[in-house]
């Protein structure tokens, strides 16, 4: 009895120690840094500081990994690591815990966080447009009116897609009960449409292009046709980072602006660059970026009061937001560079 008990305890401790060592790698300088965080190790030794920025694998957040790549292959003072998340609640939790201090996020959610007292500010946008309302290819719908009584999927109640579609319903004189809305995770939307579980969906790319490429969906509306200069996501920064390291925020905003300017004119290269970050098929991303310029754009990224006021008003009207937050509390435009030159990314270096 004694021997086997001792053996048992020793074995258990051994397993825990070995697993702990393998998990936290005390011998490596990066420690427990996730291998997923570093897609490209860059040769840029000049950068003395680094920052992890959160994003989701949607093309609205494309400038985030591009900035990551640019910071490591060109001369910048800060190295940016883009950390991929799979859903916004996790992003919020990470931001609240300050595990990340800057992230891309849907705008109404950032407003909600601000409303709840989380000290975050919107410092820049990540894109314009980038979403579509998709219906089944064989559907006879020609406008939103034809979708009366149908089921439409949206990614979150706090998504701008939800706000915008309600605005459009108002324009067509539809009541909010005329369309049946369901909240679905974006990756499930194309397959739900294919199986007939929903009649359409409104979400960011590449989940719209997927349905088109697989041959069962078509675009009913481009976001810009409903809401000019549509925004779904913006760069959200924790106020502590703004106070403690304004120079990092400056680098980040400049990096995103330059990455946007580069991506706007190097679309196929951008698709190739971000595919390993997104872990998505380059073909789908390439289709989103190159097939139709109306789909998404990465210039004009300075947030205006008017952009955000419209979103806030709609949120309050729908009862999802509670109070008007002054725009200067919500937006910080101090870091936006006056001149924006495309990031000097060498396309030949893209692996």
């Amino acid at each position: 009895m004694k021997l086997s008990t001792k053996l048992f305890i020793a074995g258990t401790i051994l397993i825990i120690v070995v697993l702990g060592l393998l998990r936290y790698k005390p011998w490596s300088s990066n420690g427990a840094v996730n291998v997923r965080d570093v897609v490209h190790e860059g040769p840029n030794d000049k950068a003395k500081r680094s920052l992890t920025v959160g994003f989701l694998p949607v093309t609205c957040h494309l400038t985030c990994p591009v900035t990551d790549f640019a910071s490591k292959t060109t001369q910048s003072n800060t190295n940016f690591n883009s950390r991929v998340f799979t859903d916004f609640p996790t992003v919020v939790s990470a931001l609240e815990a300050k595990q990340i201090e800057a992230t891309f996020m849907i705008v109404p959610l950032a407003m909600k966080l601000r409303e709840e007292g989380v000290p975050v500010k919107i410092c820049y946008l990540g894109h314009r447009d980038g979403s579509e309302i998709i219906v089944a290819k064989k559907s006879s719908a020609r406008s939103l009116k034809d979708l009366k009584g149908k089921t439409i999927a949206i990614p979150s109640l706090f998504s701008n897609q939800n706000f915008v579609i309600h605005k459009l319903m108002g324009d067509y004189g539809l009541k909010s009960t005329d369309i049946n809305f369901v909240v679905l995770p974006p990756p499930d939307m194309p397959t739900s449409l294919a199986s007939g579980a929903i009649d359409g969906y409104f979400v960011g790319e590449p989940f719209c292009a997927k349905a088109e490429l697989d041959g069962y969906g078509r675009v009913l509306y481009y976001a810009r046709d409903i809401w000019p200069n549509f925004i779904s996501c913006a760069l959200v920064v924790h106020e502590d980072l703004i106070k403690e390291h304004p120079e990092i925020v400056q680098d980040l905003v400049r990096g995103i602006a330059q990455s946007g300017a580069w991506a706007e004119t190097h679309r196929a290269e951008a698709a190739k660059l971000v595919a390993p970050y997104y872990r998505q098929d380059e073909k789908v991303l390439n289709y989103v970026l190159t097939s139709e310029p109306r789909r998404v754009s990465y210039v004009q990224l300075t947030p205006t009061d008017q952009d955000f006021q419209l979103i806030q008003d709609m949120g309050i009207k729908m009862g999802l937001l509670k109070k008007h937050i002054p725009m200067d509390e919500l937006i910080d435009r101090d870091f936006i560079p006056k001149e924006i030159t495309p990031a000097p990314i060498d396309a030949a270096k893209i692996p």
Partner: protein, 276 residues
């Protein structure tokens, strides 16, 4: 056991025959599962080859093999396996370390048992996944929320299983213990614990199964790596082939670890519990 004992007393010829029978039995025990597996893969291949399901709904075996290669060469799979194993090990050892002693104590104290049983049952029936929002609020993201969920999933079943095992120990054991004047800690280590050990090992195996199922679900939220996260990420990337590759790893690892736990039932101190 029985086989070897009887063969020793039987004539030589029969021994040889039973040895060959045993050998072919042993061979069959490998051949049959492999045949079923091959049959399964063949069926899968046929379904995807003849496009019975559209490609976006069922990845082909070749795609899965390819994504296996990608996951292994990028180091992601290794990292995720370690992350999941670490979380399960810590969560599981914490809950066994606290749950088994508590179960032993409750099993010996009737009033305590009466007092705590309803509450233990209440928590046992709460799906650990219901704790996800709190796990994230309290422990944010990383290893801690997953470990917490594993703990919540396994602690209560372990306490209850240990407790009921103790309360079914034949009274005669305690009468004998009384004659030997065993009391307190001695009674626990010399009589109670050995008597319930086989049942504890069985319930450890069962709750390990629960924790392996829970870890995958737990890692889908609030984590940045791990096998469950791998599936979630593959789904976000519209890469079902990679999701299947993770599913295969989860299944195989689960089986291997269970084989390991079965070894405990062969320890000399508990074997009696399985050979009745």
């Amino acid at each position: 056991m029985a086989g070897t004992m009887s063969s020793a007393t039987l004539p030589k010829k029969t021994t040889v025959q039973s040895a060959t029978a045993k050998k072919s039995n042993r061979a069959l025990s490998y051949v049959l599962p492999v045949a079923v597996l091959l049959f399964f893969v063949l069926g899968w291949w046929l379904i995807s080859h003849f496009n019975l399901f559209p490609a976006y709904a069922l990845p082909t075996p070749a795609d899965v093999v390819k994504s296996f290669g990608e996951e292994i060469t990028s180091g992601r799979l290794y990292n995720d396996v370690i992350a999941s194993l670490w979380r399960v090990a810590v969560g599981f050892i914490l809950s066994a370390g606290l749950g088994i002693p508590l179960g032993l104590w409750l099993g010996q104290h009737l009033h305590a048992r009466q007092a705590f049983l309803p509450m233990l049952n209440f928590f046992r029936f709460l799906s650990p996944l219901a704790w996800i929002p709190f796990a994230i609020l309290w422990f944010h993201i990383g290893d801690k929320p997953a470990i917490f969920l594993i703990f919540m999933a396994t602690f209560f079943p372990l306490v209850i299983a240990t407790m009921s095992a103790v309360s079914t120990i034949p009274a005669i054991y305690f009468r004998v213990a009384h004659d030997y004047k065993y009391k307190g800690a001695e009674l626990l280590t010399k009589v109670t614990f050995p008597a319930v050990l086989p049942q504890i090992i069985t319930s450890l195996r069962v709750s390990y199964g629960i924790s392996w199922v829970v870890i995958v679900a737990a890692e889908m939220v609030g984590c940045q790596d791990g096998l469950g996260y791998g599936i979630w990420e593959a789904r976000n990337g519209l890469r079902l082939d990679s999701a299947v590759c993770y599913m295969v790893v989860i299944g195989v690892l689960g089986m291997l670890i269970d084989r390991l736990l079965i070894q405990f039932t062969k320890l000399p101190n508990v074997r009696w519990g399985y050979e009745r």
